[in-house]
């Protein structure tokens, strides 16, 4: 069993979002970078759990980014995984990034490709779908449970208002979310081991982005909360009904 886990770096969830250069760039100065939570807690940890069940499993991590992505990929290696590949590329749209991942995946004969359901910065939720199309593989999105059953996978995925269970032969691309695995933190042994695990750097494939970011903007500030006294819920109901017309 050979698993490729796609890892992205993302700003820590408590980061104050601001922009520079006339609102064309994310203000990255002083930002604490983390592994994108969906990639870490659900995609990577589930892959590690599968390896714990079957130690012959090989886990490769792939990230598309410049050298500043290395601390994040080292942290991912400290959790688990055998080696990492960094595609040495700057910014590009999701098509560009998916193309780089597909180029790596296409050379590795992977049985499983795991991604997080989305990144918490650009919220594209596109990489898994794009990689699967580039490789002409089946795609199961929003997985909340994953089990292997011989040469196929049994996956529970979210649908509107519930969930469904499906079975699919390998190889398959799966986007992962809450439920797939329990979050864990790297232990000292993992952190030490990660220092010597291979981290290959490869140059990007020549691909053009199909979209570009023109500018960013912050939402307009809220007018401020209108507080209603606790002993007068009738006033809140009146405001919601007559002023906000919320019901």
């Amino acid at each position: 069993m050979k698993i490729l886990v796609c890892i992205s770096k993302a700003p820590d969830t408590t980061t104050k979002i601001a922009f520079t250069d006339n609102n064309t760039k994310f203000a990255a100065d002083g930002v604490q970078w983390i592994i994108n939570p969906y990639d870490e807690w659900y995609a990577l940890v589930r892959a590690i759990e599968l390896k714990e069940k079957d130690p012959s499993t090989i886990i490769h991590l792939v990230t598309v980014g410049e050298a500043d992505a290395e601390p994040v990929i080292r942290k991912a290696l400290a959790l688990g995984g055998d080696e990492a590949i960094r595609v040495n590329a700057g910014s590009g749209d999701s098509y560009y990034i998916a193309s780089q991942i597909a180029a790596i995946a296409g050379q590795g004969a992977y049985d499983l490709i795991f991604t997080g359901k989305e990144t918490i910065d650009y919220n594209g939720s596109s990489i898994g779908g794009m990689v699967s199309e580039l490789l002409n593989l089946p795609y199961v999105s929003l997985a909340i449970k994953f089990e292997l059953n011989g040469a196929s996978a049994v996956i529970t995925r979210e649908i509107e208002g519930g969930e469904e269970v499906c079975e699919v032969g390998l190889p398959v691309v799966v986007s992962c979310q809450k439920g797939m695995a329990e979050a864990r933190i790297p232990n000292m042994r993992g952190i030490m081991a990660a220092r010597t695990k291979p981290l290959k750097v490869v140059e990007p494939a020549a691909v053009d982005s199909l979209t570009s970011i023109v500018s960013f903007e912050l939402p307009p500030a809220k007018a401020g909360v209108k507080l209603v006294p606790a002993d007068n819920p009738a006033e809140l109901v009146r405001l919601l009904h007559e002023e906000a017309k919320a019901f």
Binding site: Y139, E160, G161, L218, A246
Partner: protein, 322 residues
């Protein structure tokens, strides 16, 4: 040239999010002076021609039972074939579960530019620029789509359904090549009789301030009275007071209802990331310093166990329920 709108169905019923996509797509078509067309895959029990009231003139219906159940790969190929026949240059999806799955695949197949999570109509004054949410709703990005074909996945609850159209749509029965899905669905488990959280107009949500799962009766009663879905904060789901599918926030579901009522939730930044696109936020919390009040439109500083039952009585009066 046309705008093609994917009309998503489940068990033969058209999803509400698709009506928003239809209204959005027909408005783009109207502004550009081109035709708005729809595409439906699978058997549908509703009157398709009646979708004309959302402004769409023509609907390609691939009435094939093999398409009753969604599969990203099979749907991508079927939609691509219809795109080719219709000559569509703009394709609109809802950014719902199915849209998130199929739109990226289709964008690769057609070498189309994709913007997912769109919240506004495209600005075509200089190119083709679409606003989308980024940083989990904490900001927006304006994205230029530079390829010949453009795909937009519209965030649910971000565009009003418009029923201003006239007459019925022409339904064109269409055959496409449908291969067998590699993903076999073995069981479907839907929560019956409840409003799906992602489609709810009103959401009533409870947090740790409610002290235990046994206290959810008033949350459910309030939700039922308002025709709302119930939700919860992450600690509540993590301690299994409530099922995981109710968890809204950064790592749970991101929702954008018209009205979000948060009861006993302090409003951590990760929770706000999942609900900050709600149109109106009401916070009930006994702690006046709870950060959620800063993001709220209306609030009551008070004990939920006293406030909520009285709130229920007052809503009953307004609604005329005994």
């Amino acid at each position: 040239m046309s705008v093609l709108i994917f009309i998503d169905q489940s068990e033969g019923h058209i999803k509400k999010a698709s009506l928003e996509a239809l209204s959005y797509g027909t408005e783009i078509a109207g502004k550009s002076g081109i035709a708005a067309e729809g595409i439906i895959l699978g058997n549908v029990s509703e009157d398709i021609a009646a979708l004309g009231k959302y402004g769409v003139k023509k609907i390609y219906h691939v009435d094939n039972a093999a398409l009753n159940h969604f599969d990203a790969q099979v749907f991508t190929n079927a939609i691509a074939e219809v795109v080719q026949r219709s000559g569509a240059k703009v394709i609109v999806f809802s950014n719902n579960v199915d849209g998130k799955s199929v739109a990226p695949r289709l964008s690769v197949k057609l070498k189309a530019g994709l913007v997912s999570g769109a919240v506004a109509l495209p600005d075509t004054s200089n190119g083709f620029i679409v606003k989308k949410t980024v940083f989990s709703g904490k900001a927006f990005a304006n994205i230029a789509l530079n390829a010949d074909i453009k795909i937009i996945a519209l965030n649910p609850n971000s565009f009003s359904v418009n029923t201003g159209g006239e007459g019925s749509a022409e339904v064109v029965k269409t055959d496409v090549k449908v291969e067998e899905a590699k993903v076999k669905v073995t069981s479907v488990n839907k929560v019956k009789g409840e409003v799906p959280l992602s489609e709810a107009d009103i959401v009533v949500s409870g947090g740790r301030g409610l002290k235990g799962p046994e206290n959810w009766g008033m949350i459910e009663e309030l939700a039922k009275l308002l025709g709302a879905a119930t939700a919860c904060s992450r600690p509540v789901a993590d301690t299994h007071w409530r099922p995981h599918h109710e968890h809204v926030g950064q790592t749970g579901l991101a929702i954008a209802p018209n009205l979000y009522i948060a009861i006993g939730i302090s409003g951590a930044i990760q929770h706000l990331a999942g609900v900050n696109r709600s149109k109106i936020i009401v916070v009930i919390n006994k702690d006046p310093e709870a950060p959620f009040f800063k993001a709220a439109d209306y609030g009551i500083v008070g004990d939920a166990f006293e406030v909520v039952p009285r709130l229920i009585e007052e809503i009953k009066k307004v609604k005329g329920v005994a």
